[in-house]
Symmetry: C2
Subunit: 153 residues, 2 copies
């Protein structure tokens, strides 16, 4: 039941056979242990056979998968969308075109966000330039504009 310690200096040796612990996965992927567990709960990474006893052992691919998630997040995808990308990736029936379509849809998405922010920015800059920055807040043209403001939209 108990394997003797000789020949097994530590994590590294053991892992070569059984995989990675959650802590090792987390460190390798650059996220916290809790985040790994969170992704598991969300179905973004498959949890290795429930242990019930002992520890879970992760295949090295899990690290790559978490890195994928992080990279996709940096590109603006939500976890839900990333889950879909991962599904596409796994499904041999799906084509590259599907992925491409999602990427393009996301750029359109980002464009809309940028436009909205641009409109905000312009409106706000206009207000700020109308305010010479003196006098009490009661007379502030910025606040006034917000109070009476034109219902733009």
């Amino acid at each position: 039941m108990n394997r003797p310690a000789e020949g097994i200096p530590g994590d590294a040796e053991k892992d070569r056979r059984t995989g990675l612990t959650i802590g090792q996965v987390a460190r390798a992927a650059g996220v916290g242990v809790e985040t790994v567990r969170f992704y598991e709960r969300k179905g973004l990474i498959e949890q290795p056979e429930k242990p019930m006893f002992g520890r879970r052992s992760y295949p090295p691919e899990t690290v790559a998968r978490i890195r994928f998630i992080r990279r996709a997040k940096e590109l603006g995808f939500t976890l839900k969308e990333i889950a879909e990308l991962l599904e596409l990736r796994m499904d041999p029936g799906k084509s590259c075109a599907e992925v491409r379509a999602r990427a393009l849809a996301k750029t359109a998405d980002i464009d809309r966000k940028i436009e909205t922010l641009g409109r905000m920015r312009r409106a706000l800059a206009d207000l700020a330039s109308a305010c010479r920055g003196r006098g009490p807040t009661i007379d502030c043209p910025i606040l006034e504009a917000m109070e009476e403001g034109e219902e733009h939209e």
Copy 2:
């Protein structure tokens, strides 16, 4: 205890003396009743003397205040920031310059968001253009880039 109904045809007449009900405030401001209550909980609008019995009666200014909140939100302020703006507005010791500073800080904020989104967009568009949209997802350059991806940042 009971005032007779004559001379009081309905809401409109009563309100002229006692103020507005939450439903009237909500309709006038273009938000839901629950949103009004939410803003109260958040301290964005003062709740009129707790009734304990009967209904709360809102001064007409409440409608303007909610409109202010909405407009500020459209300009990109969070509710927390809006609460600060409202405080500035009420404080006679504060100057217009403070409001202006916040508006400018927010434009800088928005600029940063736009830059981040622009970077995302470019990266994503590059990936999409590298994908001719054919073949299985296993060979998709977009997914590949995400899997191996350069740790940009």
